[in-house]
Structure formats: C-alpha cells, structure tokens
C-alpha cells in the first residue's frame, strides 16, 4: 500500500510545471541527439551535466533520462531518410525503413516508428513500475559479498555481449577498473597511481572519462573519416499516417517487440541494439512473406523500433533496483545519480522515493511528448539533417571543454579529457568496445569497496563470497556466462577459416 502511495506521489512530482519543462527539454534534446549521427546519448548526457549543477537532483535526472530514451525515437529518422542510423540501436530500422522511404512510404515508416516506440516505451515503464518493488525487496538482503558478485556478473555480461571479441571486452573492463583505482584509497588513505600529479590524488572524475571517450572520441572519429556516411536525404512529404492494412500488419510485431525489448533490456550488456536485432529476427521468422524483408516490410520497422525503446526503459530496472547499470548510457546515468549524492539500489526506493518515482513517472509523460514531437513536429527535426557537420562537430568539442572546465576549473583535466578522447578513437580503430570500460570506471570504486568490506567482515577469507545462496548462484551464473562465451568464440573461430 505504501508503495502504491509512493507511485501516486511520484506523479505529483513529475507533473510539477518545472519538472514537465525539464522532461520536455530532455526528450527534445534526446530526439535531436538521435537525429544527429556521430553523437550518442552517453556523450549528450555527459555534456549536459554542467548544465545541471544548479538543478534539483530529481529535475536533473528526469532531464538526463529524457535524453536517453528520447534518442531511441530520433535514431529512426536518419535510418529511414538517409539509411544511416542515428544510434546503433536503429541499425535494423534502416534495412526496411529506407526501402519503404524509397517507395514513397517514408511517412508510414516514421509513423510506425513513433507509435511503436511509444507503445514499447510505455509498456516497459508499466513493467518497470510493477517489478521494481519486488526486486528491491529481494535485494535488500544483499551484503557486500553479494554486491561484489552482482557487479562481477554485470561486468561479465557486458564484456561478453558487447562487441565482436569478448577478450577485447574484458580488456576494456580491466582498463576501466584500473582507472577507478587512481587516487586516494579511502580505507588506508594511501595515494595510488597519481605519479606526483596533485590533480590525480582525488581520482579521475567519471565525467572526464565519459566526455573524453564518447564526445571527444566520437568527434575525432567523425572528423578523421570526413563524415563519409552521409548520403542523399529522401524528401519527407505527405501525411505521417498508416493505412488500415499497415496497422494490421504492425500490431503483432509491436506487441512482440515490447515484450522482447523489455526482457532483453533488463539483461546487463544486451541493451537496445541486441533487442532490435532479436526482434527483427523473430519478425522475419514469423512472417508470412519473409522474402519482403529487406525490401520494405513494415514489420521490419515496427518490431525493432518498438523493441529498442522497450529495452532502453527495461535497462533502467537493474540500474534503479540493484544499482548496477548494464550499458554505457545507463552507467552515465548512475554516475549522475552518484554526483547528486544518491546511490541507486534497493535503498533508493526507501530513502528517495520522491526521486525514483518522480523519475519513473516522468517517463510516461516523456513518451507522450515524444509521440507529439515525432509525429506532427517531425519536419523540424528533419531540418537538422541539413546542418553542416563541419560546423557541428567543432561546437561539440567546445561544449566538451566547457563541461570539463566547469568541474574544477583545471586545465589539466582538459588535457586528460583529450587523452581519453584519443583513447576512444584508438579503441574504435582497434574494434575494442567502449561501454565495458565506462561501466567499469563508474562501478570500479563501489566494486573495490564491496570487496574490501567483505574481506574485512571475513577477516581476509575469500570463502565469504560463497557463504550465501545468492552469492553462490551469482558465482555459478558468472562462470556459466564465461564458459558459454569461451565456447561460442572458439566455435566461431573454428568456423571462420572455412567461410
């Protein structure tokens, strides 16, 4: 009953005029970011942090979450009109969406994208509302060993599922964890890896890493490639409406996409991109005319676009209930929570019900706003495709500079950010995934803290990590994921020379 009252109270917070305004700014900027290829939601959220110093934690988190799920809507516009996904999660939309646009059905493709995103997003919020409280109740019994094992599972999932090589994913994770060890050790007071640089004694702020690898790194990659991916823009004319037949064909893919998206989104490491790929495969295998896929089948747009939105909301479940993000973007959100002195996890629902339910309920409102932005007002966003990238990318670099300088007014941190930008560029060139590293940077100190606390409780015995059923189950899960990943890569490696 208390929980129900808190949910209802959350609406009174999310419907306050200033929070409605920040929801609007968030989803508007999310759509803009989604439309612009080269800048992802992680970079956008990180760049927005300096704008949030003056805001209440609830308003700031509402706005940042709006960018995150709003970007999933915007990504479809470029996929349909220029065959270039604005976000990686819109890759599958480009296959049939662009073909629909070439046949003069761009309006229908964008309309089903918006409706699918709305239905998928809203369904996932309802599921989040229903499952959040039972999950947090279960997680309340977690102590430091269980938390350590949980973070280990999350990181193993992320590096196993992200990118083409799990070994590179693990390397990326280790680099992130190593970055998190820089600075003063909170338990012993010893300074580690600062190499005599005073600015490093406090550790490396996660914003520097995120802005560096995502914003600066993405811009450097785009500038180096001289924006090669930009193609011809298909003109959007006519109404953004679906025929009765198109609605009928889309209904089941949207329903399946909502379910697939939410379930895949909850899993750490899987996320919106994998959800859209799974949804596309399911729709193709269920289709009466699979030969139409790739030539403009509306099911190929409806399913993946619904799934990627449902997944982005689904990935908020582990973040809010357990305090463990499953992707680079949700890791940035976790960093923002921590910056405001709020630790996501089971206690969040007890200590800050206003923040968490204000945030969750703002997503209902945000999805309605996104539907309005992406149907009658879509023509405004289409204009963004005409902004010269040679002007846009330097502006992103200035925004990154402001964001980093505003933290401590230190020039050193700007150079550090550039160094991470170069690292991000090199990682992209070498096909090393960035999300595991960012996740590890954000979770690293919590993970070490849990490890040290557990070891202090046990008097230095590692057996504490196998003392409860929860931690044993998590250990088994971790080993299973690792064995499966090694098996999968070795099979793929053996097959490769034959192909």
């Amino acid at each position: 009953m208390d929980a129900l009252l808190q949910v209802i109270d959350g609406f009174s917070i999310s419907l306050q005029p200033h929070n409605l305004w920040y929801t609007f700014i968030g989803v508007f900027m999310g759509t803009v970011i989604g439309v612009l290829p080269g800048i992802g939601p992680s970079a956008a959220m990180a760049l927005l942090i300096p704008f949030c110093y003056d805001l209440s934690s609830t308003s700031a988190l509402i706005m940042m979450a709006g960018i995150y799920y709003g970007a999933q809507y915007g990504g479809a516009i470029t996929s349909v009109l220029i065959n270039t996904p604005g976000e990686s999660s819109s890759v599958m939309t480009a296959i049939d969406g662009y073909q629909m646009a070439r046949k003069g059905r761009a309006g229908a493709a964008l309309a089903i994208s918006a409706w699918g995103s709305f239905i998928g997003g809203t369904t996932a919020i309802i599921a989040l509302t229903i499952f959040a409280v039972p999950l947090t109740t279960a997680a309340l019994s977690f102590g430091p060993p269980e938390y350590f094992m949980l973070m280990l599972v999350a990181m193993t999932c992320v590096f196993s599922l992200t990118g083409s090589s799990p070994a590179k994913g693990m390397l990326s994770t280790m680099i992130g964890l190593a970055i998190a060890t820089v600075g003063t050790d909170l338990q012993s007071g010893q300074i580690r890896y600062s190499f005599g640089v005073p600015a490093l004694q406090e550790g490396i702020d996660f914003i520097i890493v995120v802005v560096g690898v995502f914003a600066v790194g993405e811009v450097l990659s785009a500038l180096a490639e001289k924006f090669q991916s930009t193609g011809d823009i298909i003109k959007l004319d006519g109404k953004l409406m679906l025929t009765r037949e198109e609605w009928k064909r889309s209904a089941k893919p949207v329903a399946r996409g909502s379910l697939i998206g939410f379930l895949v989104g909850v899993l750490p490491g899987a996320g919106a991109t994998i959800a859209s790929i799974v949804s596309y495969s399911v729709e193709k295998s269920n289709a009466k005319h699979p030969e139409e896929f790739g030539k403009g089948a509306i099911e190929g747009v409806a399913g993946p676009e619904t799934a990627n939105n449902a997944a982005s909301t689904g990935s908020m479940v582990p973040l809010l209930t357990l305090g463990v993000p499953g992707s680079g973007s949700t890791a940035v959100l976790l960093g923002a929570f921590i910056m405001f002195g709020i630790q996501p996890g089971p206690l969040l629902f007890q200590n800050h019900p206003d923040v968490v339910w204000g945030l969750v309920n703002s997503m209902y409102v945000g999805n309605v706003m996104l539907l309005l932005l992406n149907l009658p007002l879509i023509f405004i966003f289409v204009r963004l495709l005409y902004i010269p990238k040679g002007l846009l990318f330097p502006i992103v670099l200035v925004l990154a500079t402001i964001g980093i300088f505003a933290i401590n007014n230190l020039e050193f941190e700007l150079f550090l950010c550039l160094a991470f930008g170069l690292l991000g560029f090199v990682f992209r060139k070498l096909d090393i995934p960035l999300a595991p590293m960012v996740l590890a940077v954000v979770l690293g100190s919590l993970m070490e803290q849990s490890f040290r606390q557990a070891m202090t409780i046990s008097g230095g015995s590692l057996s504490i990590f196998l003392h409860s059923m929860v931690s044993i189950s998590l250990a088994i899960l971790c080993v299973t994921i690792l064995v499966f990943t090694i098996f999968k890569t070795s099979i793929r490696g053996r097959r490769a020379p034959a192909t």
Binding site: Q187, S188, R192, E225, L397, F415, K429, L430, G493, A496
Partner: protein
C-alpha cells in the same frame, strides 16, 4: 590478426607495469586485512588473463586475415591519423589559450579554425556561428547558470 596480437602484447606489458606500480604502494599496519595492494593486484592478473584470451582468440581464428591490408587502407589510416593529430594539436592550443585569452576569444578562434577547414568555402557563416555561439555559451554559463568561465583579455 597481427593487430590483435599487438594489442595482446601491449596489454601484457601494461599488466606488468601496473603490477610494478602497485607493489610500490606503501602498506601500513592497520585493521584492513586486505590493504591497498590486493585488489589492484587482482586487476593486474585480470589484464594478463585478457591478454592471453585475446592471443588465444587470434590462434583460433587462424591467419586468414593476415596480409589483407592493402596500400589504399594504409594510406587512409595515415590520413585519418594526420587529421586526428592536427585536431588534437589545435585543441591543445585552445586549452592553453583558454585562461590567458578568455573563453570568448579562444573559443571563437578555435571554432573558426576548425570550421574553416572542415566546412570550407563558407567563411562568413563559419565566422558568425563561431562568434555568436561563443557569446551565447558564455552568457548562458556565467549569467544564467552561474558557472564561471575565464574572462581573459576582454575581462568580463
């Protein structure tokens, strides 16, 4: 293939350096049974494992990809690196000028320089955007959001 093996070797070298730096952290007698070294040493082992795993991946994948990089690819990579190094150098100059010149002047010059190269033949549009964007951001941060930015030569 060769590239992945180089990454594996670099990761192994880094793990050695990281462990060496970890062992130089002084350990004091206190109630903490683990101390500041143990967790980083586990990470050092993790680096070594990921390096070995990556090496094994290259062995499993065989050598079918070796020698595929043609001259055109090498030329493109070189050109990309030249662009990245040039942009980075321009950013270093911007960072160094930020405090002495101030945000307005340094940002306007930085934007003008980059956009003149990447958005060619539109000097007037680039110049207007560079100056107006810098003024807009300076006003937003210093006047509305109360976040200080360097005033520099212009002194406001």
């Amino acid at each position: 293939m060769l590239q992945d093996r180089s990454i594996a070797a670099s990761a192994l070298a880094f793990s050695c350096l990281y462990v060496y730096a970890t062992l130089s952290i002084p350990v004091l007698d206190n109630i903490d049974p683990v101390g500041p070294r143990v967790y980083p040493l586990i990470l050092g082992a993790g680096f070594a494992v990921s390096s070995l795993w990556l090496f094994m991946e290259t062995v499993f994948a065989g050598s079918q990809q070796s020698g595929q990089n043609d001259n055109r690819q090498d030329g493109r990579t070189k050109s990309e690196w030249m662009t990245v190094i040039s942009v980075s150098a321009w950013m270093v100059a911007y960072f160094m000028a930020l405090v002495p010149l101030g945000f307005l002047l340094s940002s306007s010059l930085f934007l003008l320089g980059l956009s003149s190269y990447f958005n060619r033949n539109r000097f007037a549009a680039n110049a207007i955007t560079s100056v107006l964007f810098s003024i807009g951001m300076y006003a937003l941060f210093t006047r509305v959001l109360q976040v200080p930015l360097p005033g520099g030569l212009l002194g406001f």
